[in-house]
Amino acid sequence: MNQVPVIEANALNLTFETNDGPVHALRDVSLAINKGDFVSFIGPSGCGKTTFLRVIADLEQPTGGQVSVNGMSPEEARKARAYGYVFQAAGLYPWRTIAGNIRLPLEIMGYSKAEQRERSERVLKLVELSGFGGKYPWQLSGGMQQRASIARALAFDADILLMDEPFGALDEIVRDRLNEELLNLWKRTQKTICFVTHSIPEAVFLSTKIVVMSPRPGRITDVIDSPLPLERPLDIRDTPEFIEVAHRVRDGLRAGHGDDV
């Protein structure tokens, strides 16, 4: 079966001009992401993982190379609302209820009132927040707020979910639970997910493909196709296969650092 990549980057370069000279956020990044992949980007700060996500989302403009999203340029894909983006901070509007926050993209995209209500109820159920639609964000815990922000990204029918360290600010217990839920959600919705993280266990647990990156200049040092089965209970993290993949990720990170460490 020959798959067509949903996201394809070819010799991508991005250089920021700063007062201290140019910063190479991305250098020669080439990558193909297939439909239904769960891809994690892992690496230390400054390795360009977030920048790469933002280039896919047309929030940053590359200085060289090409990216295509669903066969379109990132700008066309953004205007076609091809992806949902989940930021590190939940970023819910404090003056809107949870359901109101989820309706935000739907209002902007011109869905009917009935459809807005139907969809917000559906995605609230999907992230296990049924019954919380009428609450305001400050009435919810950090983990619940982040789930609501995922629901917001799922409310409209984008096939691609871009997630920038969505669980980075949460404690490990909540994070484990949300990781499990995210896996279930991914299996049920068949979306293509790009997931930026700092955490090796998180990357290995979630992904079908792990992209290891390193800084100065930001580049890909390893791409690992995970041998783990799709069915992943939390205790898979104690299996030899899991530990082996985690080792390979750690090696990739160390190699990328070169003489830095």
Partner: protein, 305 residues
């Protein structure tokens, strides 16, 4: 009660200080009255007393201290004299009377409210322009700041004269001066408020391919609401000052400013002080009303408990 007690304590201390200050301020007049009435005072003649220190006179004539609290035209009236005057000119006078403080207060209030409305609308409009247009940001903001460095007392007569020459008089010139003072805090607050959404918030809307108008209505405007109310509280107080100042240079006969002016012409200090307190009470009431609307609005928006 716990919150009221400190306020009451401070108020009591201030009133106490005020009464103390009344004694030396009015001692000269009290001694002159006493001398005329045939009492023995030291020094005996007004000429000698003129250059004498007030505290010294109080010490030498303790018997006359009581009289300092009940002068007809005191240099500094006592709080009770001001309170009585306030009571008589508000509650006991018909509000259509020229001597009613309610009547004068209403004249000033109507100019204040009109000016506040003009200033708020102008301020919000300018802020929207400044936030959305780089050219306006660079050209309007400096002028807005410069406008507030000109003493309003110098500008007010010119505004009135210019508007009079084009046939505009009455309420509007005062309202213009009032708006001149109140638009500024609204501009500054609203520019800050409309710019308050974080970059991630704007990025999120960009991922939805959101039109500018929706960015304004759904994000910038609601995010600026708390800033708007802070500005409105400063703005309404400034409006009142503007309306009063607008009444001074024309020799207006109606309004709180006119009461201040008339009081100073005829040496009616009690009238001046009661007009001042009338203005202060009015300002406090206006600011509280805005505060109340603020609380209700923010609670409705889910921004406060």
């Amino acid at each position: 009660m716990r919150r009221v007690l400190p306020v009451l304590a401070v108020a009591a201390a201030l009133i106490g200080l005020w009464y103390l200050a009344v004694i030396p301020m009015n001692i000269h007049a009290a001694l002159t009255d006493a001398e005329r009435a045939g009492a023995v005072v030291t020094p005996a003649t007004a000429k000698e007393r003129r250059d004498a220190g007030a505290i010294g006179l109080v010490v030498k004539n303790p018997a006359q201290i009581g009289a300092t609290f009940s002068q007809e035209r005191p240099r500094l009236p006592t709080p009770d004299q001001v309170a009585v005057e306030l009571w008589q000119t508000t509650v006991e006078k018909k509000i259509t009377s020229k001597r009613s403080l309610v009547f004068h207060g209403w004249i000033t209030l109507s100019a204040t409210l009109l000016g506040f409305a003009i200033g708020t609308v102008a301020g919000i409009a300018l802020a929207i322009g400044i936030v959305h247009s780089r050219v306006m940001d660079m050209s309007v903001m400096p002028w807005a700041i410069v406008s507030q460095t000109i003493p309003i007392i110098a500008l007010a007569p010119m505004i009135i004269v210019v508007l009079y020459s084009v046939g505009v008089q009455g309420l509007l010139p005062k309202a213009v001066i009032s708006a001149y003072l109140s638009f500024f805090p609204v501009v500054v607050g609203m520019v800050k408020g409309l710019r308050s959404p974080a970059l991630a918030q704007l990025d999120l809307l960009k991922t939805y391919n959101t039109p500018q108008s929706s960015v304004f209505w759904k994000l910038r405007l609601p995010a600026s609401t708390p800033y708007l109310f802070a500005s409105l509280k400063v703005g309404i107080a400034a409006s009142l000052i503007g309306a009063i100042v607008g009444e001074l240079p024309t020799g207006a006969v109606r309004g709180l400013g006119a009461r201040l002016l008339a009081g100073s012409y005829y040496g009616q200090t009690i009238q001046i002080w009661s007009a001042l307190f009338g203005a202060a009470i009015l300002a406090a009431a206006l600011v509280s009303i805005i505060g109340l609307i603020e609380r209700l609005t923010l609670r409705r928006m889910g921004l406060s408990v």
